[in-house]
């Protein structure tokens, strides 16, 4: 195979549809006699439901039906746990999953209580407003640390202290390591991750065909095949009688991950019950409380180092807010637990977390998925240690990197995919070197920063490193077929939400079969076209499905060559595939068009020989025994205005390593978009709840997503360390950009404000202008009082 397409920054095949308005998203789908649904949602974070009066809503002239939990019959049960907890010794896990509609109790604002079906969405909302629910408000467990107290209000009966899970992972002997340390740094860190906020909200359309006895579901989901499995389970239908399609999806970032969202069950159930097509499209107000979020963790962490800045060990005990239910198991806190280890040799590690139920919306992965929290802890600990030791922040990282010869590197603890956390390959030192060169680090420290400081300006730099586990199993599959017109169809079970799979999968296939990429039609997320698969999340789509596509394309190539060799009367070794034809290398006039080869492989006469198949089509599955580890380093230079608390990003540089790139243009898009989400997380985005569990900023006017005015121009470079986990050497890139921005930002702000005194430490993310202003104010007072020894270093 010659790499003409694989590795090239090819323009995207999906763009013409998206640019002209022809791309079909869920809300664009119209079915015959379609009805519209609106949900009645809880206004309380915690309340008993005493009665629901639907009479007035049912009497509305447009209402077709009103349903509550009492109508659901067998469907009224806890949804299946999507991800079971990993096998960790001594693990405590209390499974509490949501139901399709709340029954007896509501446990967070926005939990659905009833659904109204009418002839238009406008009228469905009119009628939903007529549903009266008699609530008996209950004490609320809202704030994470308070909810973890033994005497806190219980989100679920019988779960004292709201313990959703406790997981303790250890390697080595931290106490023994700390006893020999020259320096031990101990701090409390809080890190709140925000909401994914894809521009397209969720949505579900369902239709029951009584003639074919088939249920069709169109959903804005990242995991259509898995959703079909859950629907079969909940609705008591054979999987083959359910057809799930994820059409064009307007962003996901985890929020459209498989959760068995209540609406994903209720809408198909209503369609079955009424025998009519039903559409529900989430509005933005619903999205703020009905779609999964990520939120806070509180880490009490310490690091022990020798006098040279070499890490001896880390201890980290943390609380994780899991919201009212835990259908996604422990993925987020396990990722945080594993991410603390970073790209560093940490011989002794003691990490224990408690996941805590709170009366807030469900926490499930959002781009980064707990990695942000863990990376923040280790990077900040290293920064504080460097300061204590009088060492450069880049140098302390370099001294602790896992060396190139140590791969595959086993970390001795269990990862979210149930395997031992193992890094397959990495080049952490070269990445940092490249970053420092690009940001001209030495000159900044030596000339630029002193010059600006002399002018009274507060300019600082942040340098962080990180790794990202990507491409986890269990598997994905793909079917590649050469069609009778010479085009190639690729079908895979993953969904796609903007990751460019229509293009990158075509690039993988094109080189194998000697066709241009625009001769390859990629089908994703349609269970009738490919019915095995898991989903697009955890930076795994390109790696796992991409390798299945690669293997299926290779297999089709072998069959194509065999057919062509027979047709052209030459040895297979002489067949060359180019320009949509098979050519006899020694007789370039002897050719067979791919379409003709496909017809030849599917003849109207003659038998299919036992052990062979008709057509030029192959299906392959790729199931890696473990994931593959991407890595990178970010540098940011900021200027802080201590009077207003505003931060301006002057420079942002990323050096990233996701192994071999299928399409560098796509990779750069993923990284840049991720960084800007990370900037939102670091400085702008925070979902605020009051003590009663009420969201206080549930609009896009109050929950601040970065705009083009806040987003910097990002300089990007790549280091390529091929994956050892797959033959094409690729690693995932979906989440990388978003992960390390918080600590980079914190370090840069702290550096910018260092002249105010060493007492100013950024230990909480998101920062915001007001939080920063308060930090500055406190530092000024401390500095004025010369209370430098108030630093809590041991």
């Amino acid at each position: 195979m010659t790499n003409r397409h694989f590795g090239a920054p090819e323009r995207r095949l999906e763009d013409p549809k998206l640019l002209t308005g022809r791309a079909v998203f869920t809300d664009d789908i119209v079915r015959r006699d379609m009805l519209f649904a609106a949900f009645v949602r809880s206004p309380h974070a915690h309340a008993a439901i005493r009665a629901i009066d639907t009479a007035a809503a049912a009497a509305h002239p447009s209402t077709v039906a009103v349903f509550t939990a009492a109508d659901l019959g067998d469907v009224l049960r806890d949804v299946p746990l999507v991800v079971p907890p990993p096998p960790i010794d001594g693990l405590v896990f209390n499974k509490r999953t949501q139901r399709a509609l709340a029954h007896g109790k509501v446990r967070h604002v926005g939990e659905p209580v009833a659904v109204v079906v009418a002839h238009s969405r406008y009228e469905a909302e009119d009628a939903a407003a007529l549903v009266t629910v008699d609530y008996d408000p209950l004490p609320v467990a809202a704030e994470l640390e308070a909810a973890a107290h033994a005497e806190a209000p219980q989100v679920h009966d019988g779960v004292a202290g709201n313990v959703a899970a406790i997981a303790h992972q250890m390697k080595g002997d931290y106490d023994a390591a700390a006893a020999q340390a020259a320096v031990v740094i101990r701090r409390r860190f809080t890190y709140e991750h925000g909401l994914a906020q894809p521009l397209e909200t969720r949505g579900v359309i369902a239709e029951w065909d009584s003639g074919q006895e088939r249920l069709s579901v169109w959903a804005s989901t990242q995991a259509p095949v898995s959703l079909r499995g859950g629907l079969a389970d909940m609705l008591g239908l054979t999987e083959s009688r359910i057809h799930v399609v994820a059409p064009f999806v307007g962003g996901g970032f985890g929020s459209k991950l498989l959760m068995y969202y209540p609406e994903e069950i209720v809408i198909p159930w209503v369609a079955l019950r009424l025998g009519r097509a039903v559409k529900w499209i989430e509005d933005r107000a619903e999205h703020f409380v009905a779609t999964s979020q990520e939120r806070g963790q509180i880490h009490d962490a310490e690091i022990a180092l020798d006098a040279n800045g070499v890490i001896l060990g880390v201890r980290d005990h943390f609380l994780h807010d899991t919201g009212a239910y835990n259908p996604y198991g422990l993925t987020v806190p396990i990722n945080a637990q594993c991410s603390v280890l970073g790209p560093y040799v940490i011989p002794n590690y003691d990490s224990r977390f408690t996941a805590v139920f709170t009366n807030k919306p469900i926490v499930a992965p959002y781009r980064g998925a707990g990695r942000q929290h863990g990376v923040f802890v280790i990077e900040r600990l290293l920064d504080l240690a460097a300061r204590q030791l009088g060492m450069d922040v880049a140098e302390i990282r370099r001294r602790n990197f896992i060396p190139p010869e140590a791969f595959p590197y086993r970390n001795g603890i269990t990862f979210q995919d149930f395997t031992e956390l193992t890094y397959d390959s990495g080049s952490y030192g070269p990445i940092l070197d490249r970053l420092l060169a690009l940001v001209d680090y030495d000159r900044f420290r030596r000339e630029e920063q002193p010059r600006l400081r002399a002018q009274g300006r507060h300019v600082g730099i942040g340098i962080v490193s990180y790794i990202e586990g990507t491409g986890i199993g269990p598997y994905e599959g793909a079917r590649v077929r050469i069609e009778s017109n010479g085009r190639v169809t690729v079908a895979t079970g993953v969904g796609t939400q903007g990751q460019s799979h229509y293009t990158t999968f075509a690039q993988i296939v094109a080189d194998h079969l000697g066709v241009p990429t625009d001769a390859v039609d990629v089908v994703t997320g349609d269970t009738d076209r490919f019915h095995w698969g898991v989903g697009t999340f955890a930076s795994r789509g390109a790696v796992v499905a991409g390798n299945a596509v690669n293997e299926a394309a290779e297999a089709v190539r072998d069959r194509l060559i065999a057919v062509a060799a027979e047709a052209l009367g030459c040895p297979a070794a002489r067949i060359v595939l180019e320009d949509g034809r098979a050519v006899d290398r020694d007789h370039p006039d002897k050719t067979l068009a791919l379409g003709d080869a496909a017809r030849r492989a599917n003849p109207m006469r003659g038998a299919v020989t036992p052990g062979t198949q008709p057509g030029l089509e192959e299906t392959r599955y790729f199931g890696p025994d473990a994931g593959t580890t991407s890595s990178g380093a970010h540098a940011v230079i900021v200027e802080v205005d201590p009077e207003t608390g505003m931060v301006e990003i002057k420079t942002y540089v990323v050096v990233h390593d996701c192994g071999v790139m299928i399409n560098p243009m796509v990779v750069e898009g993923q990284v840049r978009g991720g960084v800007v989400q990370g900037i939102g997380n670091a400085f702008y985005e925070r979902m605020v709840f009051d003590a009663a569990g009420q969201p206080l900023n549930a609009t896009l006017a109050d929950y601040l997503i970065p705009t083009a005015m806040e987003a910097p121009t990002i300089t990007l470079d790549h280091v390529t360390t091929p994956s050892r986990q797959n033959r094409i050497g690729i690693k995932g890139v979906g989440e990388a950009g978003a992960i390390p921005v918080g600590p980079a930002f914190a370090q840069a702000v702290e550096d910018a404000l260092a002249p105010l005194g060493p007492g100013l430490e950024v230990l909480d993310i998101p920062l915001s202008p007001d939080r920063l202003w308060r930090l500055v104010d406190r530092a000024k007072q401390q500095c004025g009082a010369r209370q430098i020894d108030a630093l809590t270093m041991t």
Partner: protein, 164 residues
């Protein structure tokens, strides 16, 4: 709703007369009554800009207007941008070239915003481009490629004297 409203509007050069509820949003009217689903609804409170269309040449948020308000007006949507089937406008082509879209959900609103912007500001600075884009949200790209697309399109429009 008791009273209905009859409106006549020109959308992408075609005249449509429809009877609607007075409360019908322009965005829903375009999507549901005229089946022009390229206009996307992201927030329904005027922040994200995904639903931006042109009304008499001015970029507006169609989720903040009622359909009867465009009675007698000319509306342009993303479906009207391309010069023909299987062809892209210069602006659309620039977006494709610079990878200025990923999921593509916000893209129609941004294209319409920029069409109006470039008509008024043929030689924009980066700051002007970013200020204009500041009225729309994109969650995928980080905006850098969109800024590049607008810069590229503006330059080509100036040399070619073409329409965005």
């Amino acid at each position: 709703m008791d009273s209905l409203y009859t409106l006549t509007t020109t959308v992408n050069g075609r005249i449509h007369t429809r009877v609607v509820e007075p409360r019908m949003l322009l965005s829903d009217f375009l999507r549901e009554d005229l089946a022009l689903t390229g206009t996307h609804v992201g927030c329904e409170h005027g922040v994200c800009g995904a639903c931006t269309v042109l009304v008499d040449g001015v970029a507006v948020r169609s989720c903040l207007m009622f359909a009867p308000q465009v009675d007698g007006c000319a509306v342009e949507t993303v479906e009207g941008l391309a010069p023909g089937p299987d062809r892209l406008s210069l602006l659309q082509e620039a977006f494709r070239e610079t990878h200025a879209l990923q999921c593509g959900f916000c893209t129609p609103g941004i294209l319409m915003t920029i069409k109006a912007f470039l008509a008024e500001t043929p030689d924009p600075s980066e700051t002007e481009i970013r200020e204009t884009l500041g009225g729309t949200l994109c969650r995928c790209t980080g905006y850098q490629a969109i800024v590049a697309a607008v810069t590229l399109a503006a330059a080509r429009l100036r040399t070619q004297g073409a329409s965005p």
